[in-house]
């Protein structure tokens, strides 16, 4: 079976498609634009891979664990809290 991968003029180029990935993931594309994008993906394994990589990137970033608070900083903040508690209240 011969699959024609040559783009028709109304089709997206890959170079345009990669710029739409975030809008696509954010659900910010208009209905026709979304359909055009999805049609492109359906015929383009490379852009499908690209989208998968963007999703993997987001996932990897989300797995980073924030650094722990240093003991010094924690002490400073507790001191700050105690100072605040001693402040006169205007209520």
């Amino acid at each position: 079976m011969q699959v024609n991968l040559r783009p028709r003029s109304r089709d997206l180029a890959c170079q345009q498609a990669v710029e739409l990935v975030t809008d696509y993931l954010e659900d910010a594309l208009s209905h026709p634009a979304r359909r055009r994008f999805e049609t492109h993906l359906a015929g383009c394994p490379h852009c499908t891979e690209y989208l998968a990589q963007m999703r993997a990137t987001i996932k990897l970033t989300g797995q980073l664990t924030p650094a722990d608070l240093s003991p010094r900083m924690q002490e400073e903040l507790i001191a700050l809290y105690r100072r605040w508690k001693d402040e006169p209240r205007t209520e």
């Binding site: 170079q15 345009q16 990669v18 989300g62 722990d68 900083m73 924690q74 903040l77």
Partner: protein
Amino acid sequence: MELLARLRSGDEQAFIILVRRHHAAMLRLAATFVPSFAVAEEVVQDTWLGVLRGISAFQGRSSVKTWLFRILVNRARTAGVRERRAVTLGEEPAVDPARFDQAGQWASPPQHWAEDADDRMQAAKVADRIRSAIEDLPPRQRRVVTLRDLEGLGSAEVCSILQISAANQRVLLHRGRSRLRQLIETEFGRI
């Protein structure tokens, strides 16, 4: 809300919990506005004091996190170098144009990424590199990527915290994520 109620009633432990939960993220965000880590630390401390002083005024209309981050951004902006409002966003392609042919089709397409989920060494290495790659992002991209993808906040919250439009938020997110993808591809993609 429970935690805030305890905080209002003067429960030091509640404050420590809140600090442990949010301090590191606040520091990261502050660092994108000010020239040095020391100044970022000052800004965050100052923010905590502002939070304590304003605790009775907090209405609970936004999440605690959004509220904290908004106070932080206000203070960081005051402490940091004044940025021009409405900075124009120049061109910055998601992928090196040299990787496409004249018709805009992939000439050098992305290779499938090996799944190395079991390889802990590899995972730790990737995490380290992503962390430093985030550090290297331009500040406005770094803010958005950090809040969205690291902190897991939604787009509306991020727009509200950073006072940017939804469209700008998406552009910054797109560029930041695209750079990170590029980096992972360069370093780890062809395993």
